[in-house]
């Protein structure tokens, strides 16, 4: 997989937001590649910059107050960050599609599901009304909504949450994009529906070879469908590894903390373990490593040195001085 050309190449992306008292650096030099047909997980707490990263890819960062401070996003040799509005419009939905977190609010309540599905295919694929309707019904069928043709005339409020997320997925996939960005697609759904939606995504991916960027704070989701994982903290990627390797042997203390805070079946502890402290204020970052105030293994050097993302062994990278030292010692 990784031998082929990457579909999307994000390099040193930087995004900040202007607030009353500071320039908040939400994304601070994020780099990653997405290869055809793979699923990349983007994991982190709220405010770690994972959503903003992807909004930036789509050109959806609200400006102002948002600002792209630097970096490139290469897609088919073009830097998406420099494209005009019109050029971006031909990529959004057509080449790169997005599924949002909350299916209850992500659909337009005043338009039928059919209208919302077909307006996209009619625009991007130039389908006639009839063709678009037929294709929309096929898509609903594909995502497991029964009686598709009839349901096209229904409004979003006539669907349940899980069904709406299926509609979102049908919509996102209707132009057969190369890349699907799924921003916490299962967070707002209950657990049984979550599993169904994940199965659906995996299944559709295998059938169509779509690449997926899965944004989530749920490591269970990552374990289920991701090939590679990026762990983000305070606007940076702090660990990058294959999913198996990450779960087997996390290197960054933040990743270790995340994994430890998962509920486990082989433990009967009353309380879940948590990472102490709060994520840093992105407007006033501490010197040195931004995770240091919460880090259990921090050394003196962490106070002054902001670690870069460094290769530990062939398959993984971590931005942690301690982990990097250990890797050298071994």
């Amino acid at each position: 997989m990784s031998e082929s050309q990457p579909l999307l190449k994000v390099d040193n992306l930087q995004v900040s937001f202007k607030t009353d008292d500071a320039q908040v650096r939400a994304v601070r030099g994020v780099s990653f590649d997405v290869y055809p047909g793979e699923t990349v997980g983007l994991v982190g707490e709220s405010g770690s910059g994972k959503s903003v990263t992807n909004l930036a890819l789509m050109g959806l960062v609200p400006k102002p107050p948002g600002r792209i401070d630097g970096g490139t996003v290469l897609y088919q040799g073009k830097d998406l960050l420099t494209l005009s509005d019109q050029q971006m419009q031909s990529i959004r939905g057509r080449r790169i599609a997005m599924i949002f977190q909350d299916p209850m609010t992500a659909l337009n309540p005043l338009m039928t599901v059919g209208q919302q599905l077909t307006e996209m295919t009619r625009l991007h694929l130039g389908l006639s009304r009839k063709e678009a309707n037929r294709q929309a019904a096929e898509m609903l069928d594909l995502v497991g909504i029964s009686g598709a043709e009839k349901r096209l005339r229904d409004y979003p409020h006539q669907f349940s949450g899980g069904m709406r997320q299926r509609v979102m997925i049908a919509m996102a996939l209707s132009c057969e994009p190369d890349l699907l960005i799924a921003d916490e697609p299962t967070t707002a759904l209950d657990v049984t529906i979550q599993a169904q939606i994940l199965d659906l995504l995996r299944d559709l991916q295998q059938r169509r070879g779509t690449s997926i960027i899965m944004i989530t704070h749920d490591l269970g989701v990552v374990a289920e469908i991701c090939h590679r994982v990026l762990v983000m903290y305070a606007g940076r990627v702090v660990e990058k590894a294959d999913a198996d390797a990450l779960f087997a042997d996390p290197k960054h203390p933040y990743t270790q903390g995340l994994l430890r805070s998962l509920p486990r079946f082989d433990q009967t502890a009353e309380t879940l373990e948590a990472i102490p402290g709060q994520p840093p204020d992105l407007g006033h970052l501490p010197d040195g490593c931004s995770f240091r105030p919460r880090c259990p293994v921090a050394i003196d050097a962490c106070k002054t040195q902001d670690p870069a993302l460094v290769n530990l062994d062939g398959r993984r990278k971590a931005a942690c001085l301690v982990a990097q030292q250990e890797a050298v010692d071994v």
């Binding site: 789509m58 959806l60 509005d85 019109q86 971006m88 419009q89 031909s90 990529i91 959004r92 939905g93 057509r94 599609a97 997005m98 949002f100 909350d102 609010t105 992500a106 659909l107 337009n108 309540p109 005043l110 338009m111 307006e119 996209m120 625009l123 991007h124 409004y155 409020h157 979102m168 919509m171």
Partner: protein, 309 residues
């Protein structure tokens, strides 16, 4: 469909109840104000006054009057003879005045909606630019200036200084333009503010972001995904807007010398023309009721989540 019919029946029943209440209150109020239709500056000979009162059924006991008049209205839609205008029935006065006032109100409302919504959309899409600031400043002025002041200024400007419009009269488009403008402008200003607020609120909605993420052109996003939702508060306001236009036209018809209902209404009140005043009040009640029902229907058409009840 069955929903709709049930809703309309319910509204109709409410309207009848409301009309009856309005009739009763107006009847009592009119008769508790000092004076009567025939108490002018010079007093009439007692014999003539007696005959007049007999002709208009004013010599009957109040409850009898209340009942007789009500029966006439319900069974024959007959609002009786005008007490101030000789040889005119109230129905005749309404039939002559209503088309004028209605035309004026429709022109004013359409003008107000078109101008207000356009201004609101422009200032929301280009928010915090010069255009936004200028439009919203104009809107504040429009809301603050009463329409009779506006009318005087407009007459001064467009009738005397730049002579493009006639000062009054009725019939041609040119004669409608100025009063409709003065009547509609304050409403337009309010609608502009409402639609701007509505647009700004809609722009932050998740589904608008979805629409952008679908790759729709900016214009389509605004017109199809932002505007309809932003218009809901404007639609709700149309009920009060009609009331505002109707009361506004009372004054403007006087200023522009228009043969509408408004001028009759004022005369009826000052001259204690019991029958004409009653006819006016009931007509306005019906108009407002019908408009509010239409507004509810429009709301339900735009927003499928709304259930008519």
């Amino acid at each position: 469909m069955r929903n709709l019919i049930g809703y309309l029946l319910k509204r109709a029943a409410w309207m009848i109840l409301t009309l009856w209440a309005v009739y009763t209150v107006s009847f009592i109020l009119m008769r508790s104000v000092p004076g009567n239709p025939f108490s002018g500056e010079r007093s009439l000979p007692p014999a003539i006054e007696r005959q007049l009162k007999a002709r208009y059924n004013l010599d009957a006991p109040p409850l009898q009057q209340y009942w007789d008049y009500l029966v006439g209205i319900v069974t024959r839609f007959d609002l009786g003879w005008c007490m101030g205008l000789e040889d005119y029935s109230v129905n005749q006065v309404l039939a002559e005045g209503f088309p004028v006032s209605a035309t004026l109100a429709i022109f004013a409302l359409v003008f107000a909606i078109l101008l207000g919504v356009t201004a609101g959309v422009i200032s929301a899409v280009y928010r915090r630019t010069k255009a936004d600031v200028i439009l919203m400043f104009a809107a504040v002025l429009g809301i603050a200036i009463p329409n009779f002041v506006l009318a005087s200024l407009a007459i001064l400007l467009f009738v005397f200084m730049i002579q493009i419009f006639p000062a009054g009269g009725w019939g041609t488009l040119k004669q409608i333009a100025l009063p409709a403008f003065c009547l509609g402008l304050p409403v337009a200003a309010y609608i502009a503010r409402l639609s701007r607020t509505g647009m700004l609120e809609m722009l932050t909605k998740d589904h608008v972001r979805t629409a952008i993420a679908k790759g729709l052109p900016h214009r389509t996003v605004i017109l199809r995904h932002v505007l309809p939702g932003a218009l809901l508060p404007v639609v709700s306001y149309l009920g009060p807007a009609v009331a505002r236009v109707l009361t506004g036209s009372l004054v403007l018809e006087k200023i522009f010398a228009l043969p509408g209902m408004g001028s009759h209404f004022i005369n009826a009140a000052t001259q204690r023309d019991y029958t004409l005043a009653m006819g006016m009040v009931l007509t306005y009640t019906v108009i407002l009721f019908v408009m509010n029902t239409l507004v509810d229907l429009a709301y339900a058409i735009i927003d499928p989540r709304v259930k008519l009840q």
